[in-house]
Structures are given as C-alpha cells and as structure tokens.
Amino acid sequence: MPLALFRSEKTPQQLVQNLKSVLTQLVKEHEQGEQANAKKLEKINDDVTKYLLNAKHALMGTPGQEPQLEMIVQLSDEIHKNDIILLLIRCLRYIDFEGKKYTSQILSNLLKRQIGTRYPTVEYILSQKRSENETPSNDILDELIQGYDHQEIALHSGLVLRECTKHDSLASIVLSDPKFFAFFNYVEVSTFDIASDAFVTFKDLLTVHKNTAAQFLEKNYDRFFTDYKKLLTSDNYVTRRQSLKLLGELLLDRHNYLTMDRYIGSAENLKLMMTMLADQSRSIAYEAFHVFKIFVANPNKKKEVLDILLKNKEKLIDFLSKFQSDRKEEEQFHEEREYLIKQVKSLQRPVEPSPAAAASPPEQ
C-alpha cells in the first residue's frame, strides 16, 4: 500500500530500504573521521531525519490523522526483517537531535505494539538473544545499556531501554547480563540528568518485575550489596538519597523476603543505617529510619545485631523520641516511631541456658 502522506516513498518496503541505505552511509562517513565531507554528511543527516519522521508518522499518525493499521503492520515487519532496530541504535550517536527523538519514539512505539497477547518487537528482540558461557545476552539490549556511556544519546537510549524492561522477558536478560552492574557507575556519573535517568532505569529493573528481581537479588546478593553500599555512602547527595529510598522499598517488598532476612541479619548493615539515621541531611535520616525500623522490628534478631542495639539502647530511646518530631502531619511516621521506641525499650538479652541445664540430657 502506498504511503499517502509522503511523496518520496511509495511503500513501507521502500521507506525501510531508504532508511537502511542512508544509515549505512552515515556510519561510513563517520568512520572516515576528519576526512568526511561535511556537506555530504549534512545531506545524509537530513535524509535520515526525513525518513525517520516519515516512519514515525506512518507508525503513530499525525495530529488529526490516525495511522493506518495495514501500514503499521507492513512497516514493523520490514523494520524487523531488515534488522533496522540494531542499526538505528548503533547509529544513534551520529543522528541529529530531532532524529534521535524520532528514533526513540519509533522504537518505543514498536515495543508497545501488541497483537492479541503477542508483542512482535519484543519477540523479535528475544530472537536476537545469544547465549555465551551460559549467560544470555542480547546485542540490542547491550547497545542500549552502553548508550549511557555516551552523553549525547544516554537519555534516548535510556527511554528505549525502559520501554524494553517493561517486559519481563527482556528485563530478565538485562538482569542476567553482567553489564547490569555498569549501572552502579552510570547512576554516579557527573552529568546530573544522565545519572538521574540511569537511576530510573536501575530502579525499574529492580522493582517492576517482582519475581525476576527477587531471584536476581537472591542469586547476586553479595556482589549487588557490596556495590550498593558504595551508592549508600556516595558523596553525591542525590545518589545517596535515591539509593536509600530504593533500599527501603526493596527490603519491604514481600517478594524480597529472603534478601531482607539476609540484609537485616548483618551488623555492618545496621551500623551503616544507624550512621545514616544521624545524617546531617534531614531527608537521608528520614529514609534511613524506614530501613532501620526493619532491623528493630525483626523478631528473630541475630546476636551481633541485638548486641549493637543493646549497647545503644538508652541513646536510641533518647534519639528516637526527638527524631523529626516536627513531621506533625505524618501520623504513620509517628506511630512507627512510637512503636520503635517501645521495641527498643523492651530489648533484652535472651536468657542463656544454665550450664547445668545445658549439660543435662533432654527429657524423653
């Protein structure tokens, strides 16, 4: 079917072929480095943007004109058949500003497209999965994650990556990929907006698909929390606040019970939370309170955790009774604080069995 909106391409096949051709040219020109012809490059870039806009209009329509279903189906199929998605992501850094936006919109739209219960683009990306050393990975997802390495495309890659990770199957690949741990660096990069965007993706990966994330945390507990501690103790206020808030959410989620149980059994983690509870920042202290309360409320406290709480019993009671008492409107906070004070007051060492009782054999 012809594309009624545009004169230059008559069919979706032609549009995709044209787009593929100019993207390939774009890569070639950039590979030439300084020898690249500036005028030629500009012309190619204009063509790329034009074809991307045409593809966007065909997929998403224009204000006042709805897209044609047949056109969407044909164009999506052609994009998949010609492996345009990976090519687009690889070329993203060379495409101009508006072109980058069109690219992220086109890819997001394709990822959202649903036929019954099927998501054709998600299935396409899954079909690109390769397995090396028992670790599943995927070129498209890899490229999207690495997009955070490049300032000029980070936000666009991030947007598409988040759209991918809305699907459990794709989120699971990202979490299984060792490249996931690069997020611990991305959320701390000096460019504020990129770091914030990376944190949104990081958080989505750990909170949207509860079972997948819970399995990941259990399997990678040591490495994950060793790296996570660096975020909690970061010099960057935003990283500290966001990571502390996320920690609270993760630990309080019932899907992560095993992870929580392990985390609150560690005296080191308790020390960190108590230090953060007394942080100069009011918001950090408040978030730390929501993690600290889990340690105190745990009915089966480990000995080393109980020891620290008992050593600081009086100080804690005094501290908690004054802690952020000006949060007058937050009734739940006050109730929780009162509960914690009560719990700390009732803390006592478990009665150890006497040596005689321990030596005597149990009654038959």
Binding site: G61, P63, E66, Q105, L155, F192, V238, K245, L277, S281
Partner: protein, 318 residues
C-alpha cells in the same frame, strides 16, 4: 510545594515568603542572579524530589525555544544549581504580572499565546502532554517560555492517558473536565487546549474561573457545566475582541472532540490578524514590570541559614 519551577524573583513576591524565611522551605539567594535556579534538595519532600529530577530529565531532552530548559546543572552538596539559557526570566511569569496588577492587553496576549502554543505544538508532536498549563507556568520575555514540564506525560497519538498528574488539586481550575472525571475514556492532548483557554481567561480577568473555590465545588461545577465562559455572567473583561472570544470558545468546549487542536488554534483568525500587527507589540510592559521588581529588591537579601533547622546528631557505640 515544590519550588523547582519557581524562579528566584517569583519567590521574592511569593505570599508565603515569610513562611519560607522561617525555615519551612529553604531557597538561598546568596550570590544568585536571575538566570540561575538554586534548589535545596533536602527540603523537598519525596514527591517534590522525584518531580524535580523528572523536570531535569524531561527538559534536557527537549529542543524547542519556547520550552524552559536547564543548562549547566551542578550539584553542590545538597543544592542543585542550574542556569537558564535565556534572559527572559527577569520578567517573571504571567501570574507575577497579573498579581502585580498589570493587565495584559491583546497584543501581549498574542505574544504570550503564540509562545505557549508553539511550545505545546512541539510537545504534542513529540507525544507529550503538558498537563499544567497556567499563568504561573508561562515565563514572560522574548521568547515566551513554558515551564512546569515535571507534570508532563508521554502519550501516543490517538490513545488516552488515565493517570493523574501530581498535585492536581492545586491546579483544579485549569484542569479539563475529562481529566478530573477520571473515567475509562481518559484524556488526551486536548486537555492542554482546555487549560490554554482557562489560562487566557486567567490572564484577562486576573484569576482563573473558580479559582479559590473549594475543590469539591470546582469538581461539581466543572463536571456539570457545558460551557466554561464566565463572561456570559458579566464577570469578565468587557473589551476583548470577537476573534479572541472565538479562540477561548474553541479551547474550553466541554467535549474534547469539539475543541480545536493546537495547529488549528495557531491558524485561527486571531493569530493571523495579530501577526500582522505584531510590529506594534507593546513590550514596554516588560520594562515597567522589571522596574517594579527592582523596587522590591529589599526582599531579595534574605539568606536562610540551613543550620537553623533542628538537626540531631549522635555518637553510636559499635
């Protein structure tokens, strides 16, 4: 209240300034020029903090001269500093102007609306809806800038949005009936068009229709009204052109399908007529307003000591 979108000079006029100085909210103006925004992140609530980060991310990925953008963002301890690549912020928002008892004539209104609609056109063509169009989110100057993008939402063309923007209760007079109805049919980019209509009324009359009413009453009035033009009751300005009334009428239709979209509004006779007269634009108002602000400079020297907040410290025994 999240102050991320509140320019320093706006704060100088804020009615709650004393409350802010008293330590409820901290905004430091030390060594601060009009072109910078300084936010003490630690004073933002959880929701405000999330909105602030969203605003930074959203605005950085936009490329339209009529949308406010952050430049040179830096984080110093708990303070976020950013620069706005425009000299327009010296003039404040439209709300500042009308709060200062300056009325906007149709020349200025054309100038403002042209900027707002161009900004909206860009957003809508990029599958975003603004959801917070109102006088206090329009910055006067050349170019006119639209802010408040932290409330925006991504939306596909021809699909409906259902989620509600945060803090909607503070912007109810500008919210469209379909947005506050919260039913299955949802809302789309036409919700912004409705808010533009209400904003025009706000700029003409000095306040938005139903502003100051209890929220429940606004809900009831909005959901029962077939028309939103309060002028028919004789409460609005009397001397506005028919062309402008037609624009307002096409914006505030109860049914979103009866409303114009942004490109159609930009093609309306009001804009084509005013465009030809734009050489006579009375931008003198901006200068007058700037002078008025300077007279209020006294307030700008308030520097708040963040240590004044009661903080606890403790030496734990490990």
């Amino acid at each position: 209240m999240y102050l991320g979108s509140t320019w320093p000079h706006r704060m100088k006029q804020n009615h709650n300034l004393q409350q802010i100085i008293d330590g409820k909210k901290l905004n430091k103006y030390k060594d601060c020029e009009d072109f910078h925004q300084i936010i003490d992140l630690d004073q933002l609530s959880e929701q405000e903090f999330a909105l602030c980060l969203k605003e930074v991310i959203v605005t950085r990925s936009l490329g339209c001269k009529n949308l406010a953008q952050f430049h040179d963002i830096s984080l110093r301890d708990m303070t976020l500093c950013s620069r706005f690549g425009s000299s327009t912020f010296g003039n404040g928002t439209c709300r500042d102007v009308i709060d200062g008892n300056y009325k906007l004539n149709e020349n200025i209104l054309y100038f403002v609306l042209d900027g707002v609609l161009n900004g909206l056109n860009y957003l809508h063509s990029h599958q975003m809806i603004h959801r917070a169009i109102q006088g206090s989110n329009i910055v006067l100057g050349n170019p006119v800038l639209l802010k408040g993008l932290q409330y925006s939402s991504l939306i596909n063309n021809h699909t409906q949005c259902h989620s509600l923007p945060p803090d909607l209760d503070k912007r109810l007079p500008w919210a469209s009936p379909e947005m506050i109805r919260q039913d299955r049919s949802g809302y789309n980019h036409k919700t912004d068009v409705y808010s533009v209509g209400i904003t025009i009324l706000e700029l003409l009359a000095g306040c938005a229709p139903f502003e100051g009413f209890p929220n429940t009453k606004i809900y009831l009035l909005k959901l029962s009204s077939q028309t939103m033009l309060p002028f028919s009751q004789g409460s609005g300005p009397s001397s506005i052109s028919r062309r402008l009334v037609r624009v307002i009428d096409k914006c505030v239709q109860f049914d979103p399908d009866d409303r114009h979209d942004v490109p159609s509004l930009l093609k309306s006779s009001f804009f084509s007529k005013m465009k030809s007269k734009s050489s006579n634009l009375d931008i003198d108002l901006f200068d007058k307003y700037s002078q008025m602000r300077k007279a209020e400079e006294g307030l700008s020297n308030h520097i708040i000591d963040s240590n004044s907040i009661n903080k606890l410290s403790c030496d734990w025994l490990f």
